[in-house]
Amino acid sequence: MLASEEVVALVGVGILLTALYLQAESFVAPLIPTVALQSLLLAFLLGWLAWTERSVDLAIVAGLIVAIRAVVIPWVLRRQIRAFRWKVRELHAAHRVTGHALAAVALAVIGWFVFQETLAPAFPSPAAALPFVLLLQGLLMLATRSNSLVQVIGYLELENAIVYAAALFASEFPLFIEVVVFLDVLGVVLVGIILSIQRDVTGTLEEGQEEALSG
């Protein structure tokens, strides 16, 4: 049987692979099951840690992640895709798949080096850099994409990184706070969806309007 650390490491690599896919894919529809898969992997990791550390809190958190981030939020997002079919692909991202994939990999390597230089003495576990790398991947997604649904998915990736970090670095993070954080994230996602609907309805900005928001 695999040692606990190896399981954690393997699941972490799986999460990282989903992050690479999220960054490289230019169609919007496949991103939703991918982020659901990422949440599921994270929940599996939390469940495994809950099993090895006999922690009920972690198990509850794992269940909540499955319920909220692997079921509810993808369902809501998928309804938005169906409602706005022409948002099915992000056009300028389609031309930049290579750049995005390479940027994701480069950022992963750089992020790992930064983590090693700053925080590694405090967290010697081999997979400790992965939450930080995932955080950077989420930020990269927010910075490089302009489709609002894709940015919401990038935000979800960010929050997954946070839960991952909490599981590895601060395993007794107060349950109450984590639950309310989840609800907060849900709130942000819902507000994001409302705004993205409005953004689609009112259309893209004209020339003069874009100027009003610059400078």
């Binding site: 490491a9 690599v13 994939a101 990999v105 997979a127």
Partner: protein, 318 residues
Amino acid sequence: MDPTAQIVNVLQALTVLLLAPLIAGISARAKAWTESRRGPSVFQPYRDLAKYLRKETLIPTGASRLFVGAPLVAFGAYLLIAVVVPIITPYPIPFAATVDFLGGGLLFGLAGTLTVLAALDAGSNYTALGASRSVSFAALGEPTLIIVFFAVAVITGTNNPYVTNNLLASSTAAYLSPTHLLVTAAFFLLLLAETGKLPVESAGLMELGMLEDGRAFEHSGPLLGITRWNGWLKQFLLYSVFLNVFLLPWGMVSTPTVGGALENLVLLFGKLLLLVAIVVLLEATIAKVRLFKFRDFLALSFSLAVLSVFVYAVLGVP
């Protein structure tokens, strides 16, 4: 000066040379079968070689000796690679010490570069097109190949493919490690790209991807035969390396006799048939990507390769 080892050495070289066209023929026949055609005989490549040897050689005006020499040097490079990587033995044969794995990768690069230079030397529009395309994609393909070899080195601590083969065959943990899985995936994608399979390029009469075929457009006669043979050798070598080092390193008999080598040869043939079946099935289910998306395909392969080394650094799991 062990005579058995020398015989096995020569046997390996002959295996590569003589079986490469057969694998290409089986591949073509299997693909035709998926398209509901009967397809050419599996021995057609041999007949093609014989035909080319009988034809006359035409050299474009303005082509230099490079045009004539490049296919021959490339052939020599492939032949050298053939005795360096594990094909029918899990232990190094006498010539295996010539170059290590990285050197093998560089030899692949040498052959490719010479072919491209010869294509440019020919002065034709088609060959120039093929050369420019293949070089622009090689910009992403070659680093992937190098990093794949680095990943191998990272797993075992040496650049010796035989050591890798033994390690992966004996240790399940090493085989199932994320580093190895990722690098196998990366190498598989690279394999599809380098040997010109879908979704990258569709070899055939209808498609003009002009990557592999384009470079050889101006050669004729025996030189064309050598060029075609180079293509088959490249495919055979990449397949064998993929199978014996990455995907299916098991089952090789390690007794240093000619009999053992022959057994391994039969085993290798079986593995190759399996890989051909996988590739043909993949080709039957997938569509060709547009040319400018080829770069994305290679970028994905590159990312997986870099990630495999990164994963090793992060996790420390060999």
